[in-house]
């Protein structure tokens, strides 16, 4: 068939398909532009293949190619069953994933919690050590925040509910930022993640040790024990996700490095999804529960212990039975 004849015969189909594509590209909702889409798309693909095979001019082939390309984009366009996926992820996928990556998780935890505890004990024993990691100005700031003698200063004091909102926003901003950095650092052959895990561990440990040493422990520990369960675990998880990227670059196994990175990234981005969930919960607890001063310190310790146990139990036991979430 000559090019002109071919064109004339199918021109209307192409125009119609183009209009349909425009309609689909404009709206995300279900509309009647989707009816019979696949049949027409197949037809366009067939026309394109014919036009190429018969050596028709590129001015005919290229519009067809673009139609096929846009049709391809619409046919495979992102469909989300967001709620169902989220539920499945929270109930089973995420804890399973963390267990599957337990080696990296153990390494990240060891680095983060290890440096935190060791630094805390060191600063507690040798108080001057804190100035090697935290500047004196920041130390003063920290002290004023948790000073039990201060009438109404900082987070420890009872706040108006509007301040809770302020702090919620601040914690989301700040903590997720740290977690994302810890994760993204993994791309530098894991060094970034190692650094951020170690550095954040040192900082938090030093501050905790120092505040306990100067006698502010009674305001500090009840404040942090609750949300710490989620927040600190989340940082360790983000580190593990970052290390996964780094490990894929260092030891790609049988795959090329780029391919290994891509495969590892698919796993680690799901870990990051869990990290964000954890940090959201942490920010919520931090802004609305940790900041309350009326519960007795023992109540706070108790709740804190329950939360830590909850996180541990979730990561260790959730999703063990094969059919539980379905």
């Amino acid at each position: 068939m000559k090019q002109r004849q071919f064109e004339q015969r199918h021109q209307d189909t192409w125009l119609h398909f183009g209009e349909r594509l425009d309609a689909l590209e404009r709206s995300r909702g279900k509309n009647d532009a989707g009816d019979g889409f696949t049949e027409q798309y197949r037809q366009i693909c067939q026309h394109l293949a014919l036009a190429q095979q018969r050596g028709y001019s590129s001015h005919l082939v290229e519009p067809l190619q673009q139609l096929a390309m846009s049709g391809h984009q619409q046919l495979y366009r992102h469909r989300s069953q967001f709620a169902a996926q989220l539920l499945n992820f929270v109930l089973a996928d995420f804890p399973r994933l963390v267990r599957a990556e337990w080696r990296l998780m153990a390494l990240a935890s060891l680095l983060f919690f290890g440096s935190l505890i060791v630094m805390g004990l060191l600063v507690y024993g040798y108080p001057d050590l804190i100035y090697s990691v935290v500047s004196p100005a920041q130390v003063g700031e920290m002290e004023s925040m948790y000073d039990p003698a201060a009438p109404r200063i900082g987070q420890a004091a009872e706040r108006a509910s509007s301040t809770d909102w302020l702090m919620f926003g601040y914690y989301i901003m700040h903590n997720i930022g740290i977690a994302f950095q810890t994760f993204a650092g993994g791309l530098l052959f894991g060094l970034g993640s190692l650094f951020f895990l170690f550095f954040n561990g040192l900082m938090i440990g030093a501050v905790a040790g120092h505040l306990t040493d100067v006698g502010f422990g009674e305001t500090f520990w009840p404040f942090v024990v609750g949300h710490g369960a989620f927040e600190l675990t989340a940082i360790a998880l983000a580190g593990a996700a970052g290390l996964k990227l780094g490990w894929a670059l260092l030891a790609p196994g049988p795959m090329p490095r780029g391919e290994a990175l891509r495969v590892a990234a698919q796993t680690s981005v799901r870990l990051i999804g869990g990290v964000m969930l954890f940090l959201l919960i942490a920010a919520f607890i931090e802004a609305y529960w940790s900041s309350m001063t009326w519960p007795h310190a023992n109540t706070k310790y108790l709740v804190g212990a329950v939360l830590w146990a909850l996180v541990a139990a979730y990561l260790i036991f959730a999703g063990r039975s094969a059919h539980a979430p379905d």
């Binding site: 090019q3 096929a68 601040y170 791309l187």
Partner: protein, 245 residues
Amino acid sequence: MSSSQAWPRIAAQPAPLDTRIRMETPEGIDLLLRPAGLLSRSLAFSIDLLIRGALLVGLLYLFQALGEVGTGLFLLALFLINWWYMVLFEVLNQGRSPGKQIMGLRVVHDDGTPVGWSASLLRNLLRFIDMLPFGYSVGAFTCLQHPMFKRLGDLAAGTLVIYRDSLTERPVLPEAQPVVAPLVLTLEEQRAVLAFAERQQTISPARAQELATILIAPLQLPAHTAPQHAVDQLNGIARGLAGSI
């Protein structure tokens, strides 16, 4: 055409000379993707940056009126805009953030399918590394190194930034009497003759004559044919190939 023809009738498509890549789909057709280079991508990013900046300044003024709740909301907005602006636009708006839309770009998976949540989140989180040590140096370096202009985030997420090609106007074939080619043309030759006729508007007559003169012998024209006659002959073959209306 005889069956003993040396040229395969269904020839593999020649590899493109430019940066376009062929992507075979399950439908049995080849999609041509044109990866976008560093300049248009950084322009798109700059536009996005400006939009985000303007948005934040606007929100800052708006939320200042609300006191501390407002500041809290602003920090939430800052977080959303900082980390989620790109992801939300890319997934919900056909792979296009506003900057990319203006520059005519879109993000797709390596296989040409539209970008999804995890890939988009990944490529935008890893932006942090591409920004190191300053001004996207790592990203620019890897982008220039890679045949498909991928930055590190794209490599990890398996995504690609491509141009959304717009249709070019269809040229009119020059007037000529349709003739049958004096020899059997392969597909590639047919395309070349058609392209010669279609592109005649954009090249000078002298150049067209020069090109046509090369083909005087293969077209079995007398050796001293006027160059313009060779051009007409080629146009005629093109008309013959395309068929009359």
